[in-house]
């Protein structure tokens, strides 16, 4: 499976460079303080989009048909896309956490371990939402038809972001954003992990049955 992963990481670096740059800009903005920490969630969302982009390039070059001749199972072909998404989301969630800690250090404040955990858990959970909700459609219907799911999820994420930013920016004068308790972050992480695993199994099931 290592060969497939090397190929996907190569394609991700080659074709998703602009996403990474935008992600870093968002991370930088999140460090400016105030309510901008909210921007730190987006880089992991972008990382979740990477497997979908790679799948687009795979389909364009008919890699999937070629890969059927390689010593890989369909389950491994699917798994690599999930691993790629997970690696990206974890990486950018860690960067978000580091950004939070750095901001604390710069402003002289401190971020306690609990706050960092909650922050990282939210970034990771929201980030994996994209591949969780879209990859089964991509594996079942192919990239072109699967894009419908992609746009629906983009719409949902945008609506969610608008709702959150509305809460943050239009809250009464002097109000602070609601704190997410650690147990809620744990539940969020657990639900995200369960959905991610379910999505993975569903994609394997779909792709095993699909005839290219």
């Amino acid at each position: 499976m290592k060969g497939l992963l090397i190929k996907d990481i190569y394609l991700a670096i080659r074709h998703c460079g602009i996403l990474f740059v935008v992600a870093l800009v968002f991370l930088a903005v999140s460090m400016t303080g105030g309510n901008n920490s909210f921007f730190a969630v987006f880089p992991s969302v972008f990382a979740g989009i990477v497997p979908l982009t790679v799948m687009g390039y795979d389909e364009q070059s008919r890699w999937n048909e070629y890969a059927d001749g390689l010593p890989y199972s369909r389950a491994q072909t699917v798994s690599v896309k999930y691993i790629l998404g997970l690696i990206g989301c974890i990486l950018f969630s860690l960067l978000a956490v580091l950004a939070l800690a750095a901001r604390g250090a710069i402003t002289g404040g401190t971020a306690d371990a609990l706050e960092i955990f909650v922050y990282g858990a939210v970034c990771l959970s929201v980030g994996v939402l994209f591949p969780t909700l879209t990859l089964p459609f991509f594996f079942r219907f192919g990239v072109n038809k699967g894009r419908v799911a992609y746009y629906v999820v983009i719409g949902l994420v945008a609506a969610g972001a608008a709702a959150v930013s509305g809460t943050v920016y239009y809250a009464p004068e002097g109000a602070t954003p609601p704190d997410i308790p650690a147990y809620a972050a744990c539940i969020l992480l657990g639900v995200a992990a369960a959905l991610f695993a379910l999505s993975w199994l569903l994609s394997v099931h779909f792709y095993r049955k699909r005839e290219l």
């Binding site: 060969g3 070059s61 008919r62 070629y66 001749g69 390689l70």
Partner: protein, 290 residues
């Protein structure tokens, strides 16, 4: 230890309006089998079924002694080199990156052998795949298929797009490959002349049905062409006549030489002519037994 590289029994597959019907054949080790068929005859479908990329509706496929629906068929794929009709490397990758990916995909990957093939085929290692010509893409596909020391090569139109010199070199490589008696090649091609040069066995596919599967030399020995007038066809034994082509200037009849009366002049024929005559036969689509 099995002596056959591929054993297919009663294979059936329906895909939309097309179906592979009750297909059976065997490719012994140490041999090259050519798969001949018109566009849409089912050659690519058959090769995909062999690799397990398509699910069969019935029958069995055994590759290098392993049922291809077994969960561990991936391990068998380590011993198969595949060149599909479209080499599906991502466009931005170059031969160097392809080598890196394959090194981590095949346990028996041989970097030195791969580098040697690239050099022999004059393939630029740093040029993106998208800038390769069709012939160069095919060459890279062939280099990859051969660089992990496979026992079986499955080639789908692998010589298409190659110039005559490169085609001759590729055919030489495949022939060299089967010098090892444990190796075998299954190759489909429209260029029947190429297959005639290297194949030991020939399979004719027509509309998903195997018209014939036989040793090439036996085929060329069994069939012949008779030139006569259209009226004289009736004088030929009906069982000897396989197909005919009539024109205002006379008729060409594909016949079984052993069923003709002695002394009748018969011209030797080619695989291409045998296939064309057989494919055009109307109403006689049953499988032939030589």
């Amino acid at each position: 230890m099995t002596t056959n590289a591929i054993e297919i029994k009663n294979l059936t597959k329906r895909r939309g309006n097309f179906s592979v019907k009750n297909l059976s054949f065997t490719l012994p080790k140490g041999c090259i089998m050519g798969l001949i068929g018109e566009n849409g005859a089912g050659k690519t479908t058959l090769l995909k079924l062999i690799l397990g990329a398509l699910h069969k509706d019935g029958g069995s496929i055994c590759v290098l002694g392993q049922d291809n629906s077994a969960p561990n068929f991936n391990q068998t794929k380590e011993r198969i080199g595949v060149v599909p009709d479209e080499i599906g490397f991502p466009y931005s990758m170059n031969a160097k990156i392809v080598g890196k990916v394959m090194r981590h995909s095949y346990k028996n990957w041989d970097d030195a052998l791969y580098a040697n093939y690239l050099k022999e085929m004059s393939l630029p290692v740093d040029q993106p795949f998208k800038d390769y010509s069709r012939g160069m893409k095919m060459k890279l596909g062939i280099a990859v298929a051969l660089s992990h020391h496979p026992d079986l090569l499955i080639l789908d139109e692998a010589t298409n797009g190659l110039d005559p010199v490169a085609r001759d070199e590729a055919i030489g490589m495949f022939a060299e490959f089967t010098r090892d008696e444990n190796h075998a090649v299954l190759i489909s091609s429209h260029i029947v002349g190429d297959l005639e040069k290297i194949c030991d066995y020939v399979a004719f596919l027509h509309k998903g049905k195997l018209l014939l599967c036989e040793e090439k030399d036996v085929l060329l020995e069994t069939y012949g062409l008779v030139h006569c007038s259209a009226e004289s066809i009736a004088a030929l034994p009906p069982t000897a006549v396989i197909g005919k082509r009539e024109s205002p200037y006379g008729a060409e009849v594909l016949v079984r030489k052993d069923l003709l009366p002695g002394g009748m002049p018969v011209r030797s024929t080619s695989l291409e002519e045998i296939f064309i005559f057989m494919s055009k036969r109307d109403g006689k689509k049953e499988e032939l037994c030589v």
